[in-house]
């Protein structure tokens, strides 16, 4: 009925009626949330860089043993939990509900282990006299950015564990779809990725030698 030009417009993926990215709205929404949260963490990491550059007495308090070995272990645990999350998403795409839930529980365990180790690290620093306002090594800014940024990251891990718990329960009961598991996975990988910036910037750049 109508001309050829109009038909071509109707067929394009960007012409509406179909998702141009071939993904559901929830997934797109999560990606957008990740973009925004990236900006929040970027602002925090820029704060870190700014503070470090403007304070010449920036301390380097982390000895290779135990601090760096310990934090590397934490990193490995968190990265391993990303792997179990990948397994969960794959299982969900096979419609294997039981394995999905098990892999998600493994992911939660990884997250909780990371938090436990991290809190241990925090308390160790408290014992050495480092708090958010003071530390025995140099500028107080060090404690502020250390506890501020790792605290913010740990909050994200905690939210991630709760989120995983909700989705695992819902998926196990058939209330959530495989896509919900995948969206959950996006968030979890994002939290891990943030750590991959925090770890080198905060730990590896502050090694005592």
């Amino acid at each position: 009925m109508h001309d050829v030009k109009t038909d071509a417009a109707l067929d394009s993926a960007w012409s509406g009626g179909a998702s141009p990215f071939a993904m559901g709205s929830k997934k797109l929404g999560m990606w957008l949330f990740i973009v925004s949260d990236t900006l929040t963490f970027s602002a925090l990491l820029i704060t870190y860089s700014y503070s470090r550059l403007t304070n010449p007495d920036w301390p380097k308090p982390f000895p290779m043993n135990p601090a760096i070995i310990f934090s590397t272990t934490m990193t490995v645990v968190l990265l391993a939990s990303s792997l179990t999350m990948v397994m969960a998403v794959m299982a969900a795409q096979r419609n294997d509900r039981k394995s999905t839930v098990l892999w998600m529980i493994a992911t939660m365990a990884g997250g909780l282990t990371f938090m436990g180790l991290h809190l241990r690290e925090w308390f160790h620093l408290f014992e050495e006299g480092a708090t958010i306002t003071h530390n025995p090594w140099g500028t107080p800014q060090f404690g502020a950015v250390f506890f501020g940024i790792t605290g913010m990251h740990m909050t994200h891990v905690l939210i991630g564990v709760i989120y995983l718990g909700i989705v695992a329960t819902g998926y196990g009961r058939g209330k959530f779809s495989a896509e919900d598991v995948e969206v959950n996975g996006l968030y979890w990988h994002f939290v891990d990725l943030v750590w991959m910036f925090v770890f080198p910037l905060i730990y590896l750049m502050s090694v005592k030698y």
Binding site: M1, H2, D3, T6, A9, L10, S12, W14, S15, G16, G17, A18, S19, P20, F21, A22, M23, G24, S25, K26, L28, G29, L32, F33, V35, S36, D37, T38, L39, T40, F41, S42, A43, L44, I46, T47, Y50, S51, T54, N55, I132, T133, T139, P140, Q141, G143, A144, V145, G148, M152, S177, E179
Partner: protein
Amino acid sequence: MVTHENGGGHGHHQAPTGFIRKYVFSIDHKVIGIQYLCLALFSVFVGMALSALMRLHLGWPNAHWSIFKGGLMTPEQYLALMTMHGTIMVFMVLTTAPQSGFGNYFLPIQIGAADMAFPVLNMLSFWTTMVSLLVMIAAFFVAGGAPIGGWTSYPPLSALGEMAGPGQGAGETLWIIGLAIFCGASLMGALNFITTLIDLRVKGMTLGRLPLTCWTWFVTAILGLLAFGVLLAACILLLLDRIAGTSFFIPGGLVITDQVITWHKGGSPLLWQHLFWFFGHPEVYIAILPGMGVASHLLSTFSRKPVFGYRAMVGAICGIGFLGFCVWGHHMFISGMSPYSAFAFSILTMTIGVPSAIKTFNWLGTLWGGKITFNCAMLFALGFVSLFVSGGLSGLFLAQPALDLYLHDGYFVVAHFHLIMGVAAIFGMFAGLYFWFPKMFGRFLNEGIGKLHFWLTFIGVYAIFMPMHFLGLAGHPRRYFDTTAVDFLQKLQPVHVFISIAAFITIGAQLIFLFNFFYSLFAGKECKEENPWHATTLEWSIPSPPPFDNFAGVEPVVYHGPYEFSVPGAADDYIPQHLAPNLVKKA
């Protein structure tokens, strides 16, 4: 069709019946849009009342008024009024009404969707905004009163607590918490808008067929998504400084009200300025972009001509959005900045003049030779263009570091941002309201009262803000409480009297608008047609007011661009977007 199964936007076709689900915790984007508009309407009158009190003092600084304790305003009260006026107007009016209000109502309809992509998130976003407003207003009622740090809340004074002034204790803490909550609400809104626009467009609604209103809501949402995340981080750090005792923004060696600060050191107030303005400058475009969309839409509709240079308009919208993130340094020229950085920020800032000029040129091109109808909606759209130009030109002065050295922190700046970000954006909202009121409520706003409202407001705002440029050129600093103590400011006092009188007349005109709003809501001329303005976009293809699921389950298909007015060979001077080509009547 992935979206339509997973999006949730099409998941509910049954209208809720109970009062609470229908009007309070509604997930209908139209109700939420109206809720946002009511929130903004309440806030704008609060903000205006605060400015009235400020003008009362500035016009007649020594007169006694019984509303103040002891008859006179204190400097702290003045600063608190100023802070809350700015905050409420920027966040609760300019950010909510054009985007979350009109955008919520009309973005889904204009793209042919039944609702937003995430209706529940939409509801949460509104109620979070409401909590944020309540927390901020609570700042008036705590010990010490509202904060006095201005809407930019610069540290170190905002980070030190009560010792920096009466409102800087609990009031400032509430202010920051309110703002952080607002960041969360904006994030929810922004990702909902972007997802909706990308995923829920009806068949045939290509990006090139989006109404310009949708383009501006889309770009505004992207700005919100990127900008508010940074503000959230800044708010968290400022809260840590205040509550946990850190020194992110507090340098060492400060002396505040005769007290040496020994427990803070190592921070930088400049860091806050960087973070705040990285948010703050895009925020300006968050306020103004939807107004640009509405103005483009209305100028085309009421001059019966297509928008001149549609693609250039889209490019300019995106260009303004992008450049908005590259210019935050121009707020910091005198904060201590390398002249080379200042030079770069200056050039980038003036570059924004290019897309702005493209838009202005295209608006004039749209009007040129058109059959113009001067109704209230069109008058406000024209007013928007006028204010955008007069407010924008002073931006080119301020963009130059050498001139800014003299003009910064003076009334010239106050005049500049009120005209462009405040009044122009509000004219965009008025234009939108006069245009869409019949669609939203099934009745027209009264045109006669509306024209009175327009002319009083239009002349009024120029009478308020034009003289402020001259105050600024004469060296009048902004945020000054006492204008009588300095000799050269005393001589400028008559200008303040003039501005105050103009302000009161303009505020009176807004009461006329308020009357018109409620009068027309209940007793205005009924709008029984679907398309009273003979407009082209999809919202005019459905009843006024629209049914719960907008298109009554029948998804339209879009065949035309958004502005097909006076198409050669067609019988009518407009072709609705959804009209199949074989149904277009030939002349």
